[in-house]
Subunit: 340 residues, 2 copies
DNA sequence: TGGTATTTCTAAAACTATAAATTAAGTGTC
DNA sequence: GACACTTAATTTATAGTTTTAGAAATACCA
């Protein structure tokens, strides 16, 4: 009655062990009589093959790892991360894969590589890393571990990756603001150690250059992706009477903080300051005023990453891909432009 | 050079296979000389035992499952969920356990139980379930699968569980509002299919009863845990000129929506409406005005759940526990009371 | 120094539960 | 009867842990 295994099932069904295996794995050359006898026992005792043993024999666990090179509190603080996770999850589930999450300290290439190399528990990895340092060692390629990078498209290396075109995102935001006549734009960016920050700044710069307007370094502030950071920076700016008419925020969460600080100081958005966000999170249409922002397809990003990884694991497509998703400007009211 | 296994290591170190196993698992009766020889080879080739084979032999994977009986988009929509997850994660990591996440459709007891029963991949489960229906079947107890429930403390069953005292939470909120002289309180609650909603309502009712004030059913609205829901409900109430002076919201996210709707309609908080939230999420002190709310120790909830589960897995403590954490009133400005 | 006790080692086997390749047996056809 | 085909049984492989029995080395004691 207790622990059933394939041998006991075979005995109960009066067939050999391999017949049971064949039936359970839909392999050919099993007579209807034998199949029926096996299934009867399987159903009666609700037998399911031990997945660990199966993993050992097939050398695959049907489980992928999501490695986040951020501390838990950073990663889990953001609605952004949740959307991404959801995308990964939905796709994995559809394909019959489990997902195991791990947080690896940032800037610790050694630990990351060892982790991946030493653990045969997982079929592949999605690395959520924002660092410019190339976290993936060469030894991983030799080992042929399936990997997909998210949030950092490396130049030459033979890894698949998914990201949003952050240069374009920065450019879209700046073009919108500049197009509305703003010439002095305050910028709240996350750490420039992250590639996405660098790229957004690059886009911002390009648009300014084309418009013949200078983007002053004095107006670029490095903040983290927190409501609090947006609030405090905006507060500081207003109190120091900084000379700007518009604010670019590297996330909607930051923008929300900025909106609150403005309101608390009696400033009106968009009349006194135009504010543009980034991400287009679910609450963006409910801020006051509704937030103009750069939409990025986060859910799709997650789904894509999982799809590429699982394709590679199942060898459906061993080619490496570099996906660069398109961001889009979503015009609402916080910049004063008419909706189109 | 390729795939090392324990036999090859033994050969390289000129010892028997059992010595290698002994060394790697810190078992006694190994001489220093032998240990050193083994470690030299292990380090040189960076050998790590195959974790799947090890799991098969030891019948433990060092991985726990977190089963969420909500669809991905519901669960992942909330900052609440992230905090909880973070707690589970931090504790698991500290104890050397991996965590695998799964979303099981709600109200599908069959699928949930089969999932747990049939998968020997995981050492134990944390069930995040809010449903009143008892999702855990009796067969699980016979099988002796370690389980901890979060968010639903069952009455008799022999399962460990962790929750916050929601009756007390509801009571604290109502007492605060009633104490400030509010006699007509609007209530935004999540589905009464969830035990936590029932309990909060019970607490609300008890406080009203003791104050000799009626809590009218007309003023109780069922909403989901979304910013949008709070916004729309508050808007509806204001436009229909409902006769209330205070609003209880079942989460800070809902409260934030209510605050925005009030502001958009030119109503002042707390002068026109006192608003109290629930959860004390990180942004609660940054709303406008700062939100008075019922703090619940979400992080601790997650940590506790993981701790209980892993204790049970490792048989450090086979007793079942029912943890009921204490909520606390956090007074800020949205109800008009003086901070203490 | 001899004898017993203890520790450490080896080699082999059992054990975990499966998949898959190989071999054997049975049946059918020409 | 030879050959092909289907089906079943046997064996090997996956990579560890753990146990056993026996051998070797060392420790302790008189």
């Amino acid at each position: 009655m207790e622990k059933l295994n394939i041998d006991k099932v075979a005995k109960l069904a009066h067939v050999s062990r391999s017949v049971v295996s064949r039936v359970l794995n839909d392999h050919p050359n099993v007579s209807d009589v034998a199949r029926e006898r096996v299934m009867k026992v399987v159903n009666k005792y609700n037998y399911r093959p031990n997945s660990v043993a199966r993993s050992l024999a097939t050398n695959s666990t049907h489980e992928i790892g999501v490695l986040v090179t951020q501390s838990e509190d950073e990663a889990l603080g953001s609605a952004f991360w949740m959307q991404l996770h959801r995308g990964i999850f939905e796709e994995s589930k559809k394909r019959g894969y489990f997902v195991s999450l791990s947080y690896v300290p940032p800037r610790n290439k050694e630990e990351l590589n060892n982790f991946i190399l030493n653990d045969r528990r997982l079929d592949g990895y999605i690395l959520l890393t924002q660092e410019v340092t190339n976290m993936v060692g060469r030894e991983l390629f030799d080992k042929n571990v399936p990997i997909v990078l998210v949030g950092h498209v490396p130049r030459k290396k033979q890894v698949s990756s998914v990201d949003v075109d952050n240069v374009k995102g920065g450019r879209l935001a700046a073009e919108h603001l500049l197009g509305l006549g703003h010439e002095k734009i305050g910028v709240m960016l996350a750490s420039l150690d992250m590639k996405e920050s660098k790229d957004r700044l690059k886009g911002l710069r390009e648009a300014h250059l084309e418009a013949g307007i200078e983007l002053s370094d004095d107006r670029v502030e490095i903040v983290d992706y927190q409501f609090r950071a947006g609030y405090q920076t905006m507060k500081k700016w207003i109190e120091s009477e900084i000379d700007i008419t518009a604010v670019f925020c590297a996330s909607d969460t930051i923008a929300m903080g900025a909106l609150l600080a403005a309101r608390e100081h009696g400033k009106k958005v968009p009349e006194d300051y135009a504010v543009i966000g980034f991400d287009d999170l679910s609450f963006a249409e409910f801020t006051y005023p509704p937030l103009t922002t750069i939409h990025q397809p986060i859910l799709k990003k997650g789904k894509m990453a999982a799809k590429l990884l699982i394709d590679e694991i199942e060898d459906k497509d061993s080619g490496r891909h570099k996906i660069n998703l398109d961001p889009q400007l979503v015009i609402r009211e916080s910049c004063g432009a008419r909706k189109n």
